[in-house]
């Protein structure tokens, strides 16, 4: 779509302006995607260049370095030790010894097993003494995969440390050549609370994140390419192994299974669409209603402002599982809601809010409504703070210009709120897509979607991708590989949405930036 100049744009009617913006938005998508891949390409290119530069630097360090430097290429920390930096040298040396020791003792084994994930499964062996067959456990695919990945991490860490070791030698030579002194061990120790303090502070949190977030995610991505499930648990029943892209083919193929079962792709699509609908409504109903409640409380002339706020805020304090479980029981067939409605004589038969497969939308709408109950206090809190930050003179000038209350909301409050809370809305949307607790504790995914369940697991009409994923891992079959595939697809959806919202919108405004 052709870009208009500012003056041309201003001449358009309201509808045309909207159409123009919409058109620009959609015609911008391919460019944004292209731009994204260009960025990735640029990043890879930069990586390649810097790796090349590093290699060149290593070689030149070796060629031009003195004998201390050269020895350090093989015995890490030698240069430091020889130049009097005992502490650093010892640390380097220790790391090398530990690394070599690890590789010899077990690292090599894990690496060698990684391509097959184990060769010998559990076997029955006859025990003559007891006259019974006992199971002998051999290779453990799970451990091989896990420790294989860990070993690779370790190797990368070693290469990095080795590189630092080489670099330090070169720097040390340079410093000594200019007649200055090297840092002593005492100065090194001091620098970890001063100019290198950020490394000290990050060490613990990053170790935790790498071990308990990065590593598991990497592991589960790899699982998506294996046949790891309840019947192939890799140790006690049978090994699992690499299956390439088979799982993705299964998940994304439209042809159904045996016996007229629904295809995975159809089930996935169904659940995905509900997940998006849920995320949309859960985010925006809460957002707008929370904002209205906040505005009502903020309004001049309303009494007990603090009281209203406290009532709502206190509901945040109560652990969610209590309120969710309790509310879900309130909506049960024999729960309080049905009891109340029957007492009032409005209904004669109890409504099965979450159990009736013929009324999927009843369950879905109820869930969204209950989520409003959960979310409003929180949103009320957030929006209160921001609403109070809107400069009062904006409203005053709008009043003098003759804006009604609704117009003030439309033209001042809402644009301001959307601008300030834009990033929050995005995280809230993706958070709701993965809102396990609300769905699982309220309905557990019910009512059951028989058609979709024929594909796999016990899929219900209110199941989100994340609860479906969970069910797959806990069922009798425990198809971990499928769960991993779903997890990866969830990531792709979330990343895509974030990418569009983050990049596309600003890029339309400043499109000169990437021309």
């Amino acid at each position: 779509m052709k870009q208009l100049s500012d003056l041309e744009f201003l001449k358009l009617s309201k509808g045309q302006k909207f159409g123009y913006k919409l058109g620009r938005f959609f015609t911008g998508i391919p460019r944004a995607i292209l731009n994204f891949f260009l960025k990735i390409w640029g990043f890879l290119k930069k990586c390649g260049v810097s790796i090349g530069r590093e290699c060149a630097d290593i070689v030149s360090t070796f060629i031009h370095g003195d004998w201390k430097t050269k020895t350090s290429f093989f015995i890490m920390g030698f240069g430091n030790l020889a130049r009097g930096q005992i502490l650093r040298g010892l640390l380097f040396l220790l790391f090398e010894i530990v690394f070599i020791g690890f590789m010899v003792i077990s690292g090599g084994y894990w690496l060698s097993m990684l391509p097959t994930l184990g060769k010998v499964g559990p076997s029955k062996e006859y025990n003559e003494l007891l006259d019974v067959y006992v199971t002998k456990y051999n290779d453990n695919s799970f451990q091989i995969l896990l420790y294989g990945v860990l070993t690779i991490f370790f190797i990368i860490a070693f290469i990095y440390t080795w590189r630092v070791n080489v670099k330090q030698n070169r720097i040390a030579e340079k410093i000594l050549a200019t007649g200055k002194k090297l840092k002593s061990g005492k100065e090194d120790l001091h620098s970890i609370v001063d100019d290198q303090f950020h490394k000290t502070l990050l060490a613990l949190p990053m170790t935790g994140i790498i071990m308990f977030t990065v590593l598991p995610i990497l592991f589960m991505i790899l699982v998506a390419f294996t046949n790891y499930d309840g019947t192939h648990n890799g140790y006690t029943n049978s090994l699992f192994t690499w299956v390439g892209l088979d799982n993705f083919n299964t998940m994304l193929s439209w042809s159904g299974g045996s016996g007229g079962a629904q295809s995975y792709a159809a089930t996935f699509g169904e659940v995905l669409i509900w997940t998006l609908i849920w995320a949309f409504f859960a985010t925006f109903t809460n957002y707008f209603l929370g904002m209205f409640v906040a505005m009502a409380i903020n309004k001049k002339g309303i009494r007990f402002k603090k009281g209203w706020r406290t009532i709502l805020v206190l509901t945040i304090a109560i652990p969610q599982f209590i309120s969710l479980l309790y509310v879900s029981k309130m909506f049960a067939k024999n729960g309080i809601i049905n009891g109340f409605l029957m007492d009032m004589g409005w209904i004669t038969q109890a409504i099965d809010f979450f159990g009736d497969p013929s009324k999927p939308w009843l369950a879905r709408i109820t869930v969204i409504l209950i989520n409003i109950w959960i979310g409003i206090p929180y949103l009320m809190l957030i929006t209160t703070g921001i609403l109070m930050n809107i400069p009062a003179d904006l409203y005053e000038s709008a009043k003098i210009d003759g804006a009604s209350g609704w117009q003030q909301y439309r033209k001042i409050t809402l644009p301001y709120m959307l601008f300030v809370t834009g990033p929050y809305l995005l995280t809230s949307f993706t958070g709701n897509m993965n809102n396990f607790n609300v769905i699982y504790l309220l309905t557990g995914g019910a009512p059951t979607n028989a058609a979709a369940s024929s594909a796999s697991g016990n899929v219900g009409y209110t199941d989100l991708l994340i609860t479906w994923l969970f069910k797959i891992t806990t069922g009798a079959e425990s198809k971990y590989y499928l769960a991993s595939v779903i997890g990866i697809l969830v990531f792709i959806v979330v990343a895509l949405i974030s990418l569009v919202v983050y990049n596309l919108l600003p890029s339309i405004k400043n499109e000169e930036d990437f021309r």
């Binding site: 896990l146 709502l312 109560i318 029981k329 891992t473």
Partner: protein, 289 residues
């Protein structure tokens, strides 16, 4: 003043009065809706004529049996598990979050931007996936089932560095010139942290402790996965959830209510005292994104 303008002035006043009354009524209705479940849960915890679910709210026979019966079950154990987890998590998670957010707010090192982007991307993976592997690893370490609590604590605090956004947003509002002045005055980075920044960050420290403390009380899915049916390893959320399962609900429904009240009580009281800081943290955090 002419008659029409007088009318207009009257109109303004009365219409304002009408809107305000309406809003007051709406707020009362909202408050009732929001409080009803909690009132119900308290009332039902004192209902002793029947342990199952019923369609009415006011107990026919009042009593404290549901509370005393709790002590015949594993509930005290679950409570202790959760309390310990909450306490330890509150301390360690706060330390880690503050380290992380202070660093990302105050230092300009080469890897800062990539690191933040990396963590943003990490956050897009459903955390649920990691459970499978973490469960197997913790099992190998002997930290599941009866020993689930230490395992849970480990997992809670290990990834807590990812939740740095809110406190980083707060640190960002403290002017950099304070750090600079302190550096010129001769303070090391560590001294700046505990002599200047931390004393100024009381609200956010309390907020971090409070949220870290509240987290374990509500954690359900992972706790259930790790406890794996072993009653001694459950936390309150898992234990109470199981009481509402189909075969147990008729016996344990009222006990669920009394247990729920006991769980909600300490957290709510704590929250009431520290409400101010919570509000500050939440409102500040949302704006910074």
């Amino acid at each position: 003043m002419s008659e029409t303008t007088a009318k207009r002035h009257m109109g303004l006043k009365t219409s304002r009065a009408i809107t305000n009354t309406t809003i007051h009524i709406v707020l009362i209705v909202i408050s009732i809706i929001w409080l009803i479940p909690f009132v119900c849960i308290v009332l039902q915890s004192f209902r002793v004529e029947n342990t199952g679910q019923v369609g009415y709210v006011i107990p026919k026979v009042w009593g404290t049996a549901n509370y005393s019966n709790l002590f015949q079950t594993d509930f005290p154990r679950w409570y202790t598990n959760t309390f310990i987890a909450a306490l330890v998590t509150a301390v360690l998670q706060t330390v880690i979050v503050l380290c992380m957010s202070y660093t990302l707010s105050r230092f300009r090192f080469k890897m800062r931007q990539p690191l933040m982007r990396f963590m943003l991307i990490l956050g897009m993976f459903p955390g649920m996936l990691s459970m499978i592997i973490l469960y197997r690893v913790l099992k190998d370490l002997g930290l599941t089932q009866e020993n689930a609590t230490p395992g849970l604590i480990l997992v809670y605090i290990a990834s807590s560095g990812m939740g740095y956004y809110v406190s980083k947003g707060f640190f960002d509002t403290i002017p950099m010139s304070l750090d600079e002045a302190a550096r010129i005055d001769g303070a090391t980075r560590a001294q700046i942290l505990y002599k200047i920044i931390l004393p100024l960050s009381k609200p956010i420290v309390i907020y971090t402790i409070l949220t870290a403390f509240m987290g374990p009380w509500g954690d359900f899915v992972f706790a259930r996965y790790i406890a794996f049916g072993a009653s001694a390893g459950k936390n309150v959320a898992v234990g109470l959830y199981d009481w509402l399962s189909r075969d147990q609900i008729s016996n344990n429904y009222t006990m669920f209510c009394s247990g729920g009240v006991l769980v909600a009580l300490p957290v709510t009281i704590l929250f009431m005292f520290l409400q101010k800081y919570y509000v500050e943290g939440v409102t500040g955090g949302a704006v910074k994104g």
